[in-house]
Symmetry: C2
Subunit: 459 residues, 2 copies
């Protein structure tokens, strides 16, 4: 949300080059709020204001601007000044930002950075997107296992300014292999015994992730062990960096939104809805809409098979949408419940028999109730016992098909290694649509033949 | 997932009362993993093993068991021993657990707790469910503003054992009003100037939440400001507790799953899918299925209006499901995109004109494409230029209706203060179903009258 309240004042201060007030503005508030108040300014104005901020705070304020604004500033402002800012930024945020920036600008900026920062950037950029390596930061507290509590505190006092976080201190041997972890709390508690060695204090059973692990796995591990940060190691268990809680929250948000979009049949967006162009959105939706269109088209062929009967029994037509949507809705409910339970780890593949049994029972209960509603509704709309019976029996069977398809398909996709969120709902919808038509027509056919009338299959 | 690997060994150790090995088992691993290895044991066995754990670690291991196991232990084991465990637990976890426990047991346990812990529990239990007060912990570092860095460190050394967290130190005046915050990092960096007062060191612009704020707001503030914890204050800005990052991750997971369920028309579950009983699930799904059933039923009345025409033009029937599902799918896509964008703060109410304009354009593009597909498909299925034209024109209009209803309804629900996730998709589905039928029949009617034929409205 753009806060326009202070924009006139800020512009006035800039016009007057009012150093005292601009410094005050950059210092008084939480950096997130400072950034909020400036969001209505253009890139040039923001950059001018930021020159009045303390270097230690400048990169923090900058970090709270929306990404597109950050990119704009990087691409338009003085390369040397921008490189100075980049050198201050947290290593993971910096790389994310450069990934969004015009590659020509990045190539101009890199030589202006100190050699070690440049190497760090190049290394982080080499990890695959969405891997632990791509979201980790290399600014973390690493201490030798032979240090005493006193030495560790002194060392931290020196390092603290450059670290993003200081809640876990990772203890390593001479060749950077992860040996254990000491929390800031443990270190402070141990100040009364300043000669204790870290190796005596540390916990040795440390949860860690591999640098190539998927970010979703990283997030679920951090959540499961209630961690503030998790170390990222290579295949020889050397610490390369850490992924911190704020990145985990971002990952979880991203994944939750992506899952919701997938369930609705929208291919995952790279950017937020409002920032994605209409053409990209149309493409990402169009793919799935077209697939869904052709599954729905199969209902036309199914109906064609029974076409002649609609001349005689026009009441059959009235309930086609009702039958299809009841099956679709119950299938959609089940598929979403199963997909989210699989995603949160509440449900495992080996529970499949239990799930299917539960869904069968629920299908019968829900179908039975909707069948009753349908019986009464058909009596009112079509006005005959016969049509009411057909509709009621159909609804029971269709709702059961919905719950069964909705539970079996996600489990099947998971089993064969496909993403259940991506594949399930369109297929459930398609299968249940066809099943709905086939069940409806065959129930009608059967009951008509029992009462001595006949439908005409095969048109 | 229940790990059965070590169960035989654990049972053997218990049978032998092998103190040395049981102690080792409780100490060697991360508490989360210790709990994992024990999950297959029954409540009695778990409790016996836990007696060998160091008191400081016991409550941590206990905290990693699934909630139903924790409740079972509380309800079945010795009240005095259980009360001892409760006294050690983090105040927020403890209250969550007691909320799930049989109230008679809770009433027996409370008198066995130390007076201050009991008061703390009663106070936290008095806050409404899902409020900041209900998720906060009261174990946090609070320091007077007149303390020096040296005094603060000494004070923390004393308090650290009892604190859940130690990354932020909240600075208060004599009457507990929140004045500022100092991070553990800042304090450690300031060790070289041990006589600096906290009031000089602290940041005064502190993001805080009110004790009655909804947990979703708390989570979004923590995520927005990249915090590890946020203080919870009363209406006079006195600090009552803090909400920490791990609770925020839990809240975000919960809310993401709930939103996915709501979008699929399942009322939010109190427990996970596998732990919710079939009857509860049937009820939570049945409510919405019934509402959706009656919206879908209105299509039967709409179709009845045109019933006579199906005798003459049976091909009209073939495309009913296709028309309805194309509108429903595009509406569902738009509604989900808009709902998630509203939830993540990417989209604001005042942007509504832009959203509707974008969706109109997308509706025309997607509808145009599906219309073309429909034209060809109808040529193949029904085999006539006339029916193809009717289907194509209908699809264009229906997809546009879907995108418009899918964008306008969530924005409208948000505007009048209802939860867009809860209300939108069922209503979008209902409206688009009816619109689909009405558009389809009227396009046919219009084109027939243009070609000199006529449908029979009002059958």
């Amino acid at each position: 949300m753009i806060n326009t309240l202070y924009l006139p004042e800020l512009r006035e201060m800039l016009a007057e080059n009012n150093e005292a007030e601009l410094r005050e503005f950059c210092t008084a508030l939480h950096p997130a709020r400072t950034a909020e108040f400036m969001e209505g300014l253009n890139a040039d104005e923001i950059w001018r204001v930021l020159q009045y901020a303390d270097p230690a705070v400048r990169d923090e304020i900058f970090g709270f601007f929306p990404e597109n604004k950050q990119v704009e500033i990087l691409e338009t402002q003085d390369r040397h000044e921008v490189a100075g800012l980049l050198a201050e930024m947290a290593s993971d945020d910096r790389v994310d930002l450069l990934d969004e920036t015009d590659e020509a600008v990045v190539q101009e900026l890199l030589p202006l950075l100190p050699a070690d920062e440049r190497r760090d950037i190049l290394r982080l950029r080499s990890y695959p997107e969405d891997s632990a390596g791509a979201v980790m930061t290399t600014d973390f507290a690493k201490l030798g296992e032979s240090l005493t509590v006193r030495e560790a505190l002194a060392e931290l006092g020196r390092q603290a300014e450059n670290l993003e976080t200081l809640y876990y201190l990772y203890v390593v041997d001479d060749t950077d292999h992860l040996r254990g972890v000491v929390s800031a709390r443990q270190l402070v508690s141990a100040m009364t015994r300043p000669d204790t060695r870290l190796s005596e204090l540390m916990e040795t059973d440390v949860a860690a992730v591999d640098v190539l692990d998927d970010q979703e796995l990283v997030a679920s591990k951090v959540a499961r062990y209630d961690l503030l940060a998790i170390p990222v190691v290579d295949d020889e268990h050397r610490v390369l960096g850490i992924v911190t809680h704020d990145d985990v929250i971002d990952v979880m948000r991203e994944e939750a939104v992506e899952d919701a979009h997938r369930i609705a049949g929208v291919a995952p967006l790279e950017e937020s809805y409002m920032r994605t162009s209409i053409l990209t959105l149309t493409w990402k939706r169009g793919m799935w809409l077209t697939i869904l269109f052709f599954t729905a088209l199969s209902t036309a062929f199914a109906l064609q098979h029974y076409e002649k009967n609609f001349e005689t029994y026009t009441w059959l037509v009235l309930f086609i949408p009702l039958v299809i949507s009841s099956g679709g809705n119950s299938g959609n409910q089940t598929a979403t419940l199963v997909i989210t339970a699989l995603a949160t780890g509440d449900l495992h593949l080996r529970d499949w028999v239990r799930v299917v049994r539960r869904e069968l029972v629920m299908g019968m209960l829900l179908g039975g109730f909707l069948g009753m509603c349908g019986f009464i509704a058909a009596l009112i709309v079509a006005g005959g016992w016969f049509s009411s019976t057909v509709v009621a029996v159909t609804l029971v069977l269709v709702v059961i098909s919905g719950t069964l398809a909705g539970s079996l398909l996600p489990l099947f996709f998971k089993r064969v290694g496909l993403d259940p969120a991506l594949m399930s709902n369109p297929f459930v919808a398609g299968i249940v649509d066809i099943l709905g038509i086939v069940i409806y027509m065959n129930v009608a056919l059967l009951l008509l033949s029992l009462t001595g009338q006949s439908l005409k299959p095969g048109g």
